[in-house]
Amino acid sequence: MTRDRKIYRLIYWIASVVLAAVLLSGFHKLLYPSDFAVSVYRFHLLPGFLVNPAAIYLPWLEAVCAVCLLFIPRFRPAALWIVLVLLVLFTAAIGISLIRGTAFGCGCFGRAADEDPLSWINIIRNAGLIALAVFALVARKKI
């Protein structure tokens, strides 16, 4: 294996692990679906009848993607694509909320009512994660 391929492999692996860790850090959404439903609702982006299905489904999608990223290498590219799309959607949702002036916590990594409200820092953090997912997908092609 050439040195470049080793580096790409390392990028692919590290990016996958970091993204999986970020996804798993939102495990509270699996434990407290009603709190997450409130967070989804507070974005005011989905029609009411889709709020609960989204709040039930998204945490499981994230968990399954995290498991694929960590333990099922064959499914890693597919999981990376899903994570990338999710991150883009979440970032757009946060951006819209910020433009509208909504000041609630996003409910991404915690359920506490004293969670800091959304800010442009959330956008920057998500942009970093999007870049990481893109790096991983590009690195995968080079391996």
Binding site: G48, L61, F75, A103, A113, E115
Partner: protein, 165 residues
């Protein structure tokens, strides 16, 4: 040509795998929400939520963190919409008591707020009570424009250890 075919094959595999991940996640979500001790209804009417009604009335809503910041800035006046008894038992420092049912008695005070464009942060006990929302709606109709509803209310203020008078 062979490279293109290989790319197409890889793409097809990835799309199939994406479908499988979406399906497995859906299956697990349905299963979990069937047996979960804190399961939620699949469809819920959100239109009666205080926040939703506030949004319809175009009243600004802030959570605990937002209210904490507004209180620290010392520019906004906090208005307690709970009963006089609850207010006496404990309230946010410097908050004034204005129970919804006693609105008429405070007419002059409200007119002063309207004229001075004083920022008001109205609260009641928690997300479930609608005293603060009703009061906010009434104040708005009386001409108070700089109005914010502190949705998490006094319960969260106490829970997170903020000072109480």
């Amino acid at each position: 040509m062979r490279r293109l075919a290989s790319h197409l094959h890889q793409m097809k595999t990835t799309i199939r795998q994406i479908g499988l991940i979406l399906f497995v996640s859906g299956f697990l979500a349905v299963l979990a929400n069937t047996v979960h001790p804190r399961k939620i209804p699949w469809v819920q009417d959100w239109s009666h939520q205080v926040e939703s009604r506030a949004k319809d009335l175009r009243i600004r809503v802030v959570p605990f963190s937002g209210a904490k910041k507004l209180h620290a800035d010392e520019e906004a006046l906090f208005v307690d919409a709970r009963s006089e008894t609850d207010y006496t038992a404990g309230h946010i420092p410097d908050a004034v008591s204005l129970p919804f049912e006693a609105l008429d008695e405070h007419f002059e005070q409200i007119m002063e707020w309207t004229d001075s464009d004083q920022e008001l942060v109205v609260y009641c006990s928690n997300r479930e009570c609608d005293d603060a929302l009703l009061l906010s709606a009434e104040l708005k109709s009386m001409g108070v424009s700089n109005l914010t509803l502190f949705i998490d209310g006094f319960d969260s203020w106490k829970t997170f250890g903020e000072a109480v008078e």
